[in-house]
Amino acid sequence: MTMATFHLQIVTPDRMAFDGEAEKIIVRTVNGDVCILAHHIDYAAPLGIGEAKVTDAEGKTRSAACNGGLISVQDNEVRVMAITFEWEDDIDLERAHRAEAEAQEKLQAMSKEDQNFAIAEAKLKRALTRIHVKG
């Protein structure tokens, strides 16, 4: 039996990462992971930094590193407006490792009260997400 599908669009400022029918999407919001299936009630939440999993109409699941933005569900139309959204195949692992090392170094050098602490921490989180998704 095939599952009900919904129209999913995933956009970032510089491109459309996905536009088509999907069975399921899991994304990390600021309050934790949510899973959206077809006929979800109208919903919106800001996105955090984490892995996103999209199951398309053929039942194939793909992972991506997703960072920031908003997910919105309106009348069975699901839209993910992310700051960055990279499918696992597109992730540059070497770059992620470099970013991780850089962020670690920075974090060690600064105190928690530093106003740039949160920025460096977010950078580390993004790098770790990319490494996790790719690995």
Partner: protein
């Protein structure tokens, strides 16, 4: 007499020809840049449209009192994000943008976040305070850069460095027409005339808090798409300007050639007349 004017015309033809070579080269460069710029613009459109819709929906779902970034303050000063070109020779492209800013600003003090060398030069020349001046190139402006700019702008707004934020850019309508747009970014205004939607959407956290989190992101997206749009406009304006310059140069050259040939013919006729007159005597 004829000899001197012939030499003068010849020199002018040469100089117009070399100008034409330059305008033609610039036209070709603009044409080749246009395709990529257009692609980038097309790719930036879905996000701009979708995020705008989502933001308006969220604003509609907020209680009137607590929409973030919507507090109307007395306007003591404004901030303009002005997107202009890196270079001139693009017809009225840069001048139109500056005219729009001047017409809107009137006497209210303002500061500017200039993108593009021409905007930086213009406003520093006018003595306007620049938020920063390190973005001379609009071409290939990175998304990440737009996020940093958006964060700074939101900060400035919250610290009451300015009370309103505007975006001034050029929107590409067609190869022949590009229009300057002036858009209010902050404070956020409820769309007028739109009926209040039934509040059925579940926001997690509440709509107001959600908005507060995503408005900086959407602002960044807006800056990015406006920059893409502006760059296409700039390149097509330059292409048009250089196209007509090249055509004008061509016309001038054929005009001058005609004059040159007339002068040459005149000189020959005179010589013959002189020889014939000499033989008859």
């Amino acid at each position: 007499m004829a000899g001197a004017s012939m030499k003068g015309i010849k020199l002018r033809i040469k100089s117009v020809e070399s100008t034409m070579q330059i305008t033609k080269a610039m036209q070709l460069v603009a044409t080749s840049k246009l395709r990529r710029a257009k692609e980038r613009m097309e790719l930036s459109k879905p996000y701009a449209a979708i995020s705008r819709e989502a933001m308006m929906a969220a604003v509609g779902n907020c209680d009137d009192q607590n929409v973030p970034f919507a507090a109307q303050r007395d306007v003591k000063s404004r901030c303009y994000v002005v997107i202009a070109g890196e270079r001139g020779l693009a017809g009225g492209y840069n001048a139109n943008i500056f005219k729009a800013v001047a017409a809107h600003a009137q006497d209210t003090p303002y500061c500017v976040l200039p993108l593009g060398r021409k905007a930086i030069d213009k406003f520093s020349h006018l003595g306007v305070r620049l938020l920063r001046d390190d973005f001379p190139r609009v071409e290939g402006l990175a998304v990440g850069t737009c996020y940093r700019l958006a964060r700074d702008l939101i900060d400035g707004y919250l610290k009451e460095e300015f009370d309103e934020l505007y975006l001034v850019y050029t929107s590409f309508q067609s190869m022949m027409s590009q229009e300057v747009q002036l858009e209010k970014l902050l404070p956020i205004e409820k769309p007028a005339g739109e009926p209040h939607r039934a509040v059925t959407t579940v926001y997690e956290p509440e709509a107001a808090e959600t908005l507060e989190k995503v408005v900086p992101d959407f602002l960044a997206g807006r800056l990015y798409s406006a920059a893409c749009d502006s760059f296409v406009s700039e390149v097509s304006a330059r292409r048009n300007a250089m196209d007509s310059a090249t055509k004008n140069a061509g016309e001038m050259i054929s005009d001058l050639r005609l004059k040159y040939n007339r002068a040459r013919q005149g000189a020959i006729t005179q010589e013959i007349t002189e020889i014939v007159a000499g033989a008859e005597n």
